[in-house]
Symmetry: C2
Subunit: 149 residues, 2 copies
Protein backbone atom coordinates (compact mmCIF):
# COMPACT_ATOMS: atom_id res chain seq x y z
CA UNK A 1 0.00 0.00 0.00
CA UNK A 2 1.38 3.37 -1.11
CA UNK A 3 2.28 5.33 2.05
CA UNK A 4 1.27 8.62 0.38
CA UNK A 5 -2.29 7.35 0.04
CA UNK A 6 -2.38 6.21 3.65
CA UNK A 7 -1.02 9.59 4.72
CA UNK A 8 -3.64 11.44 2.63
CA UNK A 9 -6.42 9.50 4.36
CA UNK A 10 -4.85 10.08 7.78
CA UNK A 11 -4.74 13.80 7.01
CA UNK A 12 -8.48 13.70 6.36
CA UNK A 13 -9.02 11.79 9.61
CA UNK A 14 -7.00 14.37 11.56
CA UNK A 15 -9.00 17.13 9.95
CA UNK A 16 -12.19 15.43 11.16
CA UNK A 17 -10.68 15.15 14.65
CA UNK A 18 -9.94 18.87 14.76
CA UNK A 19 -13.54 19.56 13.69
CA UNK A 20 -14.84 17.36 16.52
CA UNK A 21 -16.00 14.67 14.11
CA UNK A 22 -15.29 10.96 14.59
CA UNK A 23 -11.80 10.85 12.99
CA UNK A 24 -12.14 8.80 9.82
CA UNK A 25 -10.66 9.72 6.43
CA UNK A 26 -10.96 8.10 3.02
CA UNK A 27 -9.29 8.38 -0.36
CA UNK A 28 -10.27 7.06 -3.81
CA UNK A 29 -7.31 6.40 -6.07
CA UNK A 30 -6.45 4.97 -9.46
CA UNK A 31 -5.78 1.26 -8.85
CA UNK A 32 -2.90 1.22 -11.32
CA UNK A 33 -1.11 4.55 -10.91
CA UNK A 34 -2.09 5.39 -7.32
CA UNK A 35 -3.21 8.88 -8.41
CA UNK A 36 -5.72 10.26 -5.91
CA UNK A 37 -9.04 11.35 -7.41
CA UNK A 38 -11.02 12.13 -4.25
CA UNK A 39 -10.40 12.56 -0.55
CA UNK A 40 -12.93 13.10 2.21
CA UNK A 41 -13.37 13.18 5.96
CA UNK A 42 -16.33 12.23 8.11
CA UNK A 43 -18.75 15.18 8.32
CA UNK A 44 -21.80 13.76 10.12
CA UNK A 45 -21.87 16.51 12.74
CA UNK A 46 -21.16 19.52 10.52
CA UNK A 47 -23.66 18.37 7.91
CA UNK A 48 -26.12 16.91 10.44
CA UNK A 49 -26.31 14.06 7.97
CA UNK A 50 -26.03 10.52 9.36
CA UNK A 51 -24.86 9.25 5.96
CA UNK A 52 -21.91 11.68 5.61
CA UNK A 53 -19.24 9.08 6.44
CA UNK A 54 -15.79 9.56 4.89
CA UNK A 55 -16.22 6.61 2.48
CA UNK A 56 -19.63 7.80 1.25
CA UNK A 57 -18.32 11.29 0.62
CA UNK A 58 -15.14 10.07 -1.12
CA UNK A 59 -17.21 7.81 -3.42
CA UNK A 60 -19.67 10.59 -4.21
CA UNK A 61 -16.83 13.05 -4.94
CA UNK A 62 -15.03 10.57 -7.19
CA UNK A 63 -18.22 9.75 -9.14
CA UNK A 64 -18.96 13.44 -9.57
CA UNK A 65 -15.43 14.20 -10.74
CA UNK A 66 -15.25 11.25 -13.14
CA UNK A 67 -18.94 11.58 -14.20
CA UNK A 68 -19.65 7.92 -13.59
CA UNK A 69 -21.62 5.73 -11.23
CA UNK A 70 -19.04 2.92 -11.46
CA UNK A 71 -15.54 3.30 -10.04
CA UNK A 72 -14.09 0.32 -11.89
CA UNK A 73 -10.32 0.90 -12.13
CA UNK A 74 -10.27 2.69 -8.78
CA UNK A 75 -9.68 1.62 -5.19
CA UNK A 76 -10.54 3.05 -1.80
CA UNK A 77 -8.44 3.42 1.32
CA UNK A 78 -10.20 4.31 4.56
CA UNK A 79 -8.66 4.59 8.00
CA UNK A 80 -11.35 2.43 9.67
CA UNK A 81 -13.13 -0.79 8.74
CA UNK A 82 -16.34 0.27 6.93
CA UNK A 83 -19.80 -0.09 8.47
CA UNK A 84 -22.67 -1.83 6.63
CA UNK A 85 -23.73 1.40 4.91
CA UNK A 86 -20.27 2.16 3.56
CA UNK A 87 -19.50 -1.45 2.63
CA UNK A 88 -22.76 -1.49 0.67
CA UNK A 89 -21.80 1.74 -1.10
CA UNK A 90 -18.35 0.32 -1.97
CA UNK A 91 -20.06 -2.66 -3.61
CA UNK A 92 -22.55 -0.50 -5.55
CA UNK A 93 -19.67 1.70 -6.76
CA UNK A 94 -17.84 -1.40 -8.06
CA UNK A 95 -14.52 -0.31 -6.64
CA UNK A 96 -11.68 -2.74 -7.50
CA UNK A 97 -10.34 -2.91 -3.98
CA UNK A 98 -10.96 -1.83 -0.42
CA UNK A 99 -7.93 -1.24 1.78
CA UNK A 100 -8.58 -0.17 5.34
CA UNK A 101 -6.77 0.74 8.51
CA UNK A 102 -8.02 -0.27 11.94
CA UNK A 103 -10.38 -3.19 12.44
CA UNK A 104 -13.64 -2.08 14.05
CA UNK A 105 -15.31 -4.71 16.23
CA UNK A 106 -17.83 -2.05 17.34
CA UNK A 107 -19.45 -1.04 14.04
CA UNK A 108 -17.47 -2.87 11.34
CA UNK A 109 -19.32 -4.86 8.69
CA UNK A 110 -16.51 -6.28 6.58
CA UNK A 111 -14.55 -8.65 8.81
CA UNK A 112 -17.35 -8.95 11.34
CA UNK A 113 -21.08 -8.48 11.87
CA UNK A 114 -22.96 -8.08 8.60
CA UNK A 115 -19.88 -9.22 6.59
CA UNK A 116 -21.35 -7.46 3.59
CA UNK A 117 -18.83 -8.80 1.06
CA UNK A 118 -19.48 -12.42 2.07
CA UNK A 119 -23.14 -12.33 1.00
CA UNK A 120 -24.73 -13.70 -2.12
CA UNK A 121 -26.86 -10.50 -2.20
CA UNK A 122 -23.72 -8.38 -2.65
CA UNK A 123 -23.08 -8.65 -6.37
CA UNK A 124 -19.75 -6.88 -6.59
CA UNK A 125 -17.00 -7.97 -4.23
CA UNK A 126 -13.83 -5.85 -4.13
CA UNK A 127 -10.47 -7.25 -3.14
CA UNK A 128 -10.18 -6.53 0.59
CA UNK A 129 -7.22 -5.91 2.85
CA UNK A 130 -7.52 -4.60 6.41
CA UNK A 131 -5.12 -3.72 9.21
CA UNK A 132 -3.01 -1.23 7.19
CA UNK A 133 -1.30 1.35 9.45
CA UNK A 134 -3.78 0.07 12.01
CA UNK A 135 -1.95 1.50 15.04
CA UNK A 136 -1.98 5.04 13.73
CA UNK A 137 -5.49 4.85 12.23
CA UNK A 138 -6.95 3.22 15.33
CA UNK A 139 -4.97 5.46 17.68
CA UNK A 140 -6.86 8.49 16.40
CA UNK A 141 -10.16 6.81 17.27
CA UNK A 142 -9.01 5.73 20.73
CA UNK A 143 -7.70 9.17 21.53
CA UNK A 144 -10.85 10.89 20.19
CA UNK A 145 -13.21 8.83 22.33
CA UNK A 146 -10.92 9.11 25.37
CA UNK A 147 -11.16 12.92 25.04
CA UNK A 148 -14.96 12.62 24.91
CA UNK A 149 -15.22 10.78 28.21
Amino acid sequence: MNPLIVEAALQQARRAYRADEVPVGAVVFDSRTGAIVARASNRVEAAQNPTAHAEMRAIQKACQKLRTKFLTGYSLFVTLEPCAMCAGAIAWARLDALHYGAFDPKTGAVRQGAKVFSRRQTHHKPRVRGGIAAAECGGLMTSFFKDKR
Copy 2:
Protein backbone atom coordinates in the same frame (compact mmCIF):
# COMPACT_ATOMS: atom_id res chain seq x y z
CA MET B 1 -49.87 0.95 7.62
CA ASN B 2 -51.47 4.18 6.39
CA PRO B 3 -52.42 3.66 2.70
CA LEU B 4 -51.64 7.32 1.91
CA ILE B 5 -48.02 6.76 2.90
CA VAL B 6 -47.78 3.60 0.81
CA GLU B 7 -49.33 5.47 -2.12
CA ALA B 8 -46.87 8.37 -1.72
CA ALA B 9 -43.94 5.95 -1.90
CA LEU B 10 -45.47 4.15 -4.88
CA GLN B 11 -45.83 7.52 -6.63
CA GLN B 12 -42.10 8.06 -6.13
CA ALA B 13 -41.35 4.58 -7.46
CA ARG B 14 -43.50 5.23 -10.56
CA ARG B 15 -41.70 8.52 -11.09
CA ALA B 16 -38.39 6.62 -11.03
CA TYR B 17 -39.80 4.12 -13.52
CA ARG B 18 -40.77 6.89 -15.96
CA ALA B 19 -37.24 8.32 -15.63
CA ASP B 20 -35.76 4.90 -16.47
CA GLU B 21 -34.46 4.41 -12.92
CA VAL B 22 -34.95 1.20 -10.93
CA PRO B 23 -38.47 1.90 -9.57
CA VAL B 24 -38.08 2.33 -5.82
CA GLY B 25 -39.68 5.07 -3.73
CA ALA B 26 -39.35 6.00 -0.06
CA VAL B 27 -41.10 8.25 2.42
CA VAL B 28 -40.12 9.46 5.90
CA PHE B 29 -43.10 10.19 8.14
CA ASP B 30 -43.95 11.16 11.70
CA SER B 31 -44.38 7.86 13.56
CA ARG B 32 -47.30 9.23 15.59
CA THR B 33 -49.27 11.42 13.18
CA GLY B 34 -48.24 9.87 9.87
CA ALA B 35 -47.39 13.32 8.47
CA ILE B 36 -44.91 12.97 5.61
CA VAL B 37 -41.68 14.96 6.02
CA ALA B 38 -39.70 13.71 3.03
CA ARG B 39 -40.28 11.66 -0.11
CA ALA B 40 -37.72 10.50 -2.64
CA SER B 41 -37.19 8.23 -5.60
CA ASN B 42 -34.15 6.32 -6.75
CA ARG B 43 -31.92 8.63 -8.83
CA VAL B 44 -28.74 6.58 -9.39
CA GLU B 45 -28.77 7.08 -13.17
CA ALA B 46 -29.71 10.74 -13.32
CA ALA B 47 -27.22 11.67 -10.61
CA GLN B 48 -24.60 9.11 -11.73
CA ASN B 49 -24.29 8.47 -8.01
CA PRO B 50 -24.33 4.82 -6.86
CA THR B 51 -25.50 5.90 -3.39
CA ALA B 52 -28.60 7.82 -4.57
CA HIS B 53 -31.08 5.12 -3.54
CA ALA B 54 -34.58 6.25 -2.55
CA GLU B 55 -34.02 5.52 1.17
CA MET B 56 -30.72 7.43 1.29
CA ARG B 57 -32.27 10.44 -0.39
CA ALA B 58 -35.39 10.39 1.82
CA ILE B 59 -33.24 10.22 4.97
CA GLN B 60 -30.98 13.03 3.77
CA LYS B 61 -33.97 15.21 2.86
CA ALA B 62 -35.67 14.60 6.21
CA CYS B 63 -32.49 15.39 8.15
CA GLN B 64 -31.99 18.57 6.16
CA LYS B 65 -35.58 19.69 6.67
CA LEU B 66 -35.62 18.90 10.40
CA ARG B 67 -32.01 20.04 10.92
CA THR B 68 -31.04 16.88 12.74
CA LYS B 69 -28.90 13.82 12.25
CA PHE B 70 -31.29 11.61 14.24
CA LEU B 71 -34.78 10.80 12.97
CA THR B 72 -36.09 9.56 16.32
CA GLY B 73 -39.88 9.93 16.24
CA TYR B 74 -39.97 9.21 12.52
CA SER B 75 -40.41 6.09 10.42
CA LEU B 76 -39.58 5.11 6.87
CA PHE B 77 -41.62 3.30 4.25
CA VAL B 78 -39.85 2.06 1.14
CA THR B 79 -41.32 0.01 -1.69
CA LEU B 80 -38.48 -2.55 -1.67
CA GLU B 81 -36.51 -4.35 1.03
CA PRO B 82 -33.42 -2.19 1.70
CA CYS B 83 -29.92 -3.22 0.66
CA ALA B 84 -26.98 -3.22 3.13
CA MET B 85 -26.16 0.42 2.40
CA CYS B 86 -29.69 1.64 3.04
CA ALA B 87 -30.26 -0.61 6.06
CA GLY B 88 -27.05 0.79 7.53
CA ALA B 89 -28.24 4.36 6.90
CA ILE B 90 -31.61 3.59 8.53
CA ALA B 91 -29.76 2.41 11.64
CA TRP B 92 -27.46 5.46 11.74
CA ALA B 93 -30.49 7.76 11.37
CA ARG B 94 -32.14 6.05 14.35
CA LEU B 95 -35.51 5.80 12.64
CA ASP B 96 -38.21 4.28 14.91
CA ALA B 97 -39.45 1.86 12.32
CA LEU B 98 -38.82 0.49 8.86
CA HIS B 99 -41.84 -0.64 6.85
CA TYR B 100 -41.18 -2.01 3.41
CA GLY B 101 -42.97 -3.42 0.40
CA ALA B 102 -41.58 -6.27 -1.66
CA PHE B 103 -39.04 -8.70 -0.26
CA ASP B 104 -35.82 -8.66 -2.27
CA PRO B 105 -33.94 -11.97 -2.35
CA LYS B 106 -31.57 -10.46 -4.94
CA THR B 107 -30.09 -7.48 -3.05
CA GLY B 108 -32.01 -7.33 0.25
CA ALA B 109 -30.09 -7.07 3.52
CA VAL B 110 -32.86 -7.02 6.11
CA ARG B 111 -34.63 -10.37 5.91
CA GLN B 112 -31.74 -12.03 4.07
CA GLY B 113 -28.06 -11.79 3.27
CA ALA B 114 -26.28 -9.30 5.53
CA LYS B 115 -29.32 -9.10 7.87
CA VAL B 116 -28.02 -5.76 9.06
CA PHE B 117 -30.51 -5.34 11.93
CA SER B 118 -29.61 -8.73 13.42
CA ARG B 119 -25.99 -7.78 14.10
CA ARG B 120 -24.38 -6.75 17.35
CA GLN B 121 -22.46 -4.11 15.34
CA THR B 122 -25.73 -2.38 14.43
CA HIS B 123 -26.45 -0.29 17.50
CA HIS B 124 -29.88 1.02 16.61
CA LYS B 125 -32.50 -1.48 15.54
CA PRO B 126 -35.78 -0.11 14.19
CA ARG B 127 -39.04 -2.04 14.38
CA VAL B 128 -39.29 -3.83 11.04
CA ARG B 129 -42.24 -4.96 8.96
CA GLY B 130 -41.93 -6.16 5.38
CA GLY B 131 -44.32 -7.40 2.71
CA ILE B 132 -46.63 -4.34 2.74
CA ALA B 133 -48.44 -3.87 -0.60
CA ALA B 134 -45.83 -6.32 -1.84
CA ALA B 135 -47.66 -7.25 -5.05
CA GLU B 136 -47.90 -3.67 -6.26
CA CYS B 137 -44.41 -2.65 -5.06
CA GLY B 138 -42.77 -5.77 -6.46
CA GLY B 139 -44.85 -5.65 -9.65
CA LEU B 140 -43.16 -2.37 -10.61
CA MET B 141 -39.76 -4.02 -10.29
CA THR B 142 -40.76 -7.12 -12.28
CA SER B 143 -42.25 -5.04 -15.04
CA PHE B 144 -39.24 -2.66 -15.15
CA PHE B 145 -36.73 -5.46 -15.56
CA LYS B 146 -38.95 -7.30 -18.05
CA ASP B 147 -38.95 -4.13 -20.20
CA LYS B 148 -35.14 -4.07 -19.97
CA ARG B 149 -34.68 -7.56 -21.35
